[in-house]
């Protein structure tokens, strides 16, 4: 028995320029045997025809080049964000637009909890709440006895109720930075930064990051991906302790696991040579579904937190320049070691100064250790202009651009962070492509929801939440956007010979769509339904 399955589809968008469209794809042993018409695989032996996708459109499995495994783990807690989100089980969590709605939703969530369990929420973003600030008094309405903690979407702040304050020992007496007090001298319930949040998180056993490595979280991440049509996803700052690796290898090797994970090892504060050695050791343990060996470097913070390192003229409100998480000197040292050791780097750069320093460091490293085809990737690239993109192209450095920011934070960037002019050229995918840069676009889930078709919509339409188009000159075509979420992202992960297009020899990874993204109106791209995926030949329908 040859084990060949030929799937028919309403249409197959291949992303292979030699055969852009097809009606059938033949799959054998998890790989693509042939693409074309119903007879495309006949010369290879007996085939089984499978018409379950006859009414659907197939694309190459979508690739999310910048997300975090936490995107799955979060869902054990109550979502209270402003925007609608869909959880891994397919349940819609409607966006909550005022404090009363948040209290009502949390009260309902509480009814499903054990009496002694803490109530934990996530996703709150006060930038979207025009009314008063959430406080202990609001949360006490839900329960005076059960500890309650609501994590803000930026993970730097939380609000807790009186019971949680009591558990942490916070009172009028507390005089510590980050424990916010009201005019009455009592803690308001708002806790800022980890030092202030830690005593509550410890007592409520909340560990957003540690959760990422549990078996349950790895499986949930797979479900989140499946719903978004994603068959390859990154975990772009992984600590990958030895026991975590064993769990990851075991879970991702299950036949039923629907996604290929590409972790990048976090390098903050570490000895570069040791890290490089570790990355290379990890690379040797890669499997089809777990691709190890890359590293992640942090440089600056975030633009909406005014912690990104920006060039002149700085922030429009006169805020001081942002902060380095890794000093420029150390960025140079790290890039040189990783380049010399042959380790691919993903480098976080939000502000343009961080991008400039990182490109200079990569250039210096390349002079010392030439490595054509290294494909290091700048991640976020939010403020890069033509000059920086030309330099990236010169150096062969890829750019994975944070297009979702345009919709989620574009209005705030124009008004509050970097001002109109530079906001209009933020996340400049058009310029990057025109300058010859290899481009991907991303969600940074869970910062914004995982969904490459939504991300593509952002890059095509550049609409903000208030409906304005932010920098129409930077819009790209639907085809270019679809390329970015398939072949573009595959290139940045050094997997473009294996995934990213539907062509013979590649892994049988497909996104199964309910409509044709090249035929709907560009403004409807985000509404194209995802019906499921095929991952290494295994069908995963929703």
């Amino acid at each position: 028995m040859s084990g060949i399955t030929v799937y028919s589809a309403q249409k197959i968008i291949t992303m292979d320029p030699q055969r852009p469209e097809a009606s059938h794809v033949a799959v054998q042993e998890g790989r693509i045997l042939a693409v074309g018409g119903a007879d495309c695989a006949d010369q290879w032996g007996d085939v089984v025809h499978d018409d379950r996708f006859a009414g659907a459109v197939l694309m190459p499995g979508l690739i999310e080049g910048h997300a975090h495994m936490m995107a799955g783990a979060m869902w054990r807690y109550a979502y209270v964000g402003y925007h609608d989100r869909i959880d891994p089980d397919g349940k819609l969590w409607p966006g909550l637009t005022d404090i009363d709605a948040i209290i009502d939703a949390l009260t309902e969530f509480q009814s499903g909890l054990a009496p002694d369990a803490p109530l934990v929420g996530w996703g709150l973003d006060p930038i979207f709440l025009s009314s008063e600030r959430l406080s202990r008094a609001h949360l006490d309405r839900i329960s005076p006895d059960r500890p309650i903690a609501i994590m803000f979407s930026n993970f730097h702040l939380m609000c807790v109720n009186s019971k949680a304050l009591e558990l942490a020992g916070y009172s009028r007496e507390t005089n510590a930075e980050g424990v916010v007090k009201g005019p009455d001298g009592l803690p308001t319930g708002e806790l800022q930064e980890m030092a202030a949040m830690f005593p509550v998180m410890r007592r409520l056993a909340v560990d957003f990051r540690g959760l990422s490595q549990s078996e349950d979280s790895i499986r949930t991440y797979g479900e989140v991906c499946k719903r978004a049509g994603v068959t390859t996803v990154t975990d772009l700052y992984s600590s990958l302790e030895d026991e975590d690796l064993a769990t990851m290898l075991r879970v991702t090797s299950d036949d039923g696991y629907p996604v290929r994970i590409v972790p990048a090892l976090g390098t903050a504060g570490a000895d570069p040579a040791q890290m490089a050695e570790r990355a290379i050791r990890l690379r040797e343990q890669s499997t089809d579904k777990l691709r190890l060996g890359a590293v992640k470097l942090m440089t600056d913070g975030s633009i909406q937190g005014w912690t990104a390192r920006v060039r002149w003229p700085g922030y429009v409100g006169g805020q001081p320049n942002g902060i380095w998480n890794t000093s420029p000197e150390q960025i140079f040292a790290l890039t040189e070691v990783f380049q010399g050791a042959g380790v691919q780097m993903h480098i976080h750069v939000n502000g343009d100064e961080a991008a400039e320093v990182s490109l200079n460091a990569l250039e210096a490293a390349a002079q010392k250790h030439p490595w054509p085809g290294a494909r290091h990737v700048l991640q976020h690239c939010q403020m890069m202009d033509g000059g920086l993109y030309r330099k990236a192209a010169d150096l062969g450095v890829c750019c994975n651009i944070f297009s979702n920011h345009i919709w989620y934070f574009g209005d705030q960037h124009a008004a509050l962070t970097i001002g109109e002019g530079r906001a209009e050229r933020m996340d400049a995918v058009r310029t990057a492509m025109d300058e010859g840069v290899r481009v991907a676009i991303h969600s940074d889930a869970p910062v914004t929801p995982l969904g490459p078709l939504f991300t593509a919509w952002c890059a095509v339409n550049r609409q903000t939440m208030t409906g304005r188009v932010l920098g129409a000159e930077e819009c790209i075509s639907v085809h270019e956007a679809l390329y970015a979420i398939t072949m573009g992202a595959a290139y940045t992960l050094r997997l473009d010979t294996e995934i990213g297009s539907i062509e013979p020899g590649k892994i049988a990874d497909f996104a199964v769509l309910g409509d044709d993204p090249t035929h709907v109106a560009p403004v409807a791209l985000k509404d194209v339904p995802v019906l499921g995926t095929v991952s290494s030949g295994t069908v995963h329908l929703l």
Partner: protein, 292 residues
């Protein structure tokens, strides 16, 4: 949560190459009678006398007087939680902040977590290069803030008047140039471990017992006027207060049943004298409005 003694936390900050690791090596090898837990960025640079080393596994080195673990990649706060959850807590926790990090963001947890006590931020400054580094606009603000948040600055390598002036201008409360003087101040008055400061003659000690009582506002005013070189002060004050001072960090907590005032203080010789401290304590308060 476990009923164990509070764990003192000291954070060591300073830019790359400033001399943080040399200081940590000294803390590890010193004869201080404490079991230490030290969290470092770079395992390789820690130089342990073989006689102290009992085993090395993965990212942890077990020592006869404690252990060193490497925080690379791991979440620092979660690591602190793990230390607190150990059945057998160390006597003192030392965390090395990475070169560009703000040590106050880490040390703050000692003021929020009830099972920790704040035992200071020591910022190490390379006297040879510091003024040059401050010329670098890309990093100067962060280096300046490392000094501004320090309770103690240890100036390694050279000592020039210019550097000293810059540090003072940035708000450094006490600047030490002799590495051997740093450790006794870190250990001073912390935890229940034995005092072994006796063999170091370089410190001014102050002990006070009295009956003076204070309202919170009065006590705040009094403590704010303390002599600059008084690095550490702890004890109880009549009126119902427990006082903890480390460098520039003042903590006043209400305590029941405090009938008398008992205080001990310490500071480096040359920065403060016993008469300075006596004079400060004896000075009259300015009138303070009644406060609750």
């Amino acid at each position: 949560m476990t009923g164990q003694a509070q764990l003192p936390l000291t954070v060591i900050g300073g830019y790359l190459g400033a001399g943080k690791t040399s200081l940590i090596n000294e803390l590890l090898s010193g004869d201080h009678g404490r079991r230490l837990m030290v969290m470092v960025n770079d395992f390789g640079a820690v130089n342990i006398d073989a006689a102290l080393l009992s085993s090395v596994s993965g990212d942890t080195m077990e020592l006869t007087n404690g252990c060193v673990c490497c925080t690379m990649g791991a979440d620092l706060f979660m690591a602190v939680g793990d230390v607190l959850d150990r059945a057998d807590r160390p006597d003192h926790l030392i965390i090395e902040a990475s070169g560009i990090a703000d040590p106050a963001k880490i040390a703050g947890v000692a003021r929020t977590e009830p099972e920790l006590t704040y035992a200071g931020i020591v910022t190490v400054v390379d006297g040879l290069h510091f003024t040059d580094l401050l010329e670098d606009a890309q990093i100067a603000p962060q280096l300046e803030s490392q000094v501004a948040v320090a309770d103690l600055v240890y100036l390694s390598k050279a000592m020039g008047a210019e550097v000293q002036d810059r540090l003072t201008a940035l708000g450094a409360p006490t600047v030490l140039t002799n590495r051997a003087d740093v450790a006794p101040l870190i250990w001073s008055l912390s935890g229940d471990a034995p005092e072994t400061d006796g063999r170091h003659a370089h410190f001014t000690k102050w002990v006070h017992q009295g009956t003076a009582g204070f309202t919170r506002a009065e006590l705040e005013q009094k403590l704010a006027a303390r002599p600059a070189g008084l690095y550490r002060l702890k004890g109880f004050v009549r009126g119902g207060w427990e006082v903890q001072i480390v460098g520039k960090t003042v903590d006043i907590r209400a305590r029941d049943g405090v009938e008398a005032t008992t205080l001990v203080g310490i500071g480096p010789e040359g920065h403060v004298t016993t008469p300075d401290i006596d004079a400060w304590w004896a000075a009259p308060l300015m009138a303070v409005p009644d406060a609750c």
